[in-house]
Amino acid sequence: MDTMTTILQPDHATIPGVSKPVKSRAARRVHGLSDRAIAWLFVAPTIALLLAINIFPLIWMIRLSFTNLNLSMSYLPLRFVGLDNFRDILTDEDVWFRLQTTAQFVISSVALQVVVGFGLALLINRQFRGHSFWTTIILLPMMLSPAVVGNFWTLLLQPQIGPFNYLISLFTGVPTSSFSMTGQVSLAPWTIVLVDTWMWAPYVMLICLAGLRSIPDYIYEAAEVDRASPWRQFWSITLPMTVPFLMLAVLFRAIENFKMFDMVNLLTSGGPGSTTELVSISLKRAAFEKWRTGYSSALAIILFVTVFGAANIYVKTLNKVKQR
């Protein structure tokens, strides 16, 4: 006899020729639970993990931000200082300058990424030989880890042995060792903008490409019937219909760049001096070099609320684009 027909539950009436599926122990245990309860059972481990590694540290950080905790002097009693840490940060000119540096970095790199990304999207949107190959090549930097990007650009930008200085020297005649992209005050901010643009312009390209592909062909056909020039088609059709997608890319990249830490830390570590010290690097220094835990927790909360607020606007824009 077939296995399926031999294993039958003895306490159930059996229909000749029809077998019942065997219930496992686990299945029998959940028997009687509602669908909702079973759903909760599956989701519970994830929620527990989320609470343990996200929500609990956040609540702990909020608590610490109201204290004077300094981990290098942890033997001192923990004292509640109210809003003093927030007051210190919001009247500290150094933090203010670091936020301005961050804003300059965000504005420059996002603007460059949008221009380069949109240009690449316009190129890739045309059908040509090797189209898929070039798309893959362009997308490669985006797939790399920021740690890898930071390390290999550090090598590329080495004044003595790096190929970047060699190329500049080849075209301009300036000696290779006469300038350092990461070590000079005037060049270091542009270096991080350059590397970030190299890495993330393909992402902007992808979003713009989605926008360009969503424009129906008949609009261009109608424009051609009306004898509109390609330039006019670009300004009256392509650009206006891609703007929501561009907005999405700008918001996303702005939020990501505001939090930027890893790549800049590897490339310049905030130097020379504090020229490229973004607010995230200041936060790391306050927390793990000066060990001002209470103060750095308050700064982290200020950054968190800022990013959370910007993310709300991002989600709202995303929903508008989806409805389009």
């Binding site: 927030f86 919001l90 009247t91 000119e93 203010w96 936020l99 301005q100 961050t102 804003a103 200020i302 609320v305 800022t306 959370f308 607020g309 910007a310 709300n312 606007i313 709202k316």
Partner: protein, 71 residues
């Protein structure tokens, strides 16, 4: 008509529903967030910088609340 208004589809709306619509309140909250971020990073006035966090916080908390208002 003091406490109610007739909406476009003919349904009468109460005063509260007329006032607590999501759209305009969300726009106000988003303006507060955006304004707060500009205050945080602008290079001109440290006073504006000092009040930036409160502005962003008000906008963010406001946004969370008003996003539960009816459309």
């Amino acid at each position: 008509m003091s406490g109610s208004a007739v909406a476009r589809n003919g349904v009468t709306r109460s005063g509260a529903a007329r006032w607590f619509r999501r759209g305009p309140w969300e726009a106000i909250a988003m303006t507060l967030i955006g304004g707060g971020i500009i205050m945080l990073v602008q290079p001109w006035s440290i006073d504006l910088y000092s009040y930036s966090f409160v502005t962003i916080l008000a906008g963010t908390v406001g946004f969370v609340i008003v996003s539960h208002f009816p459309e």
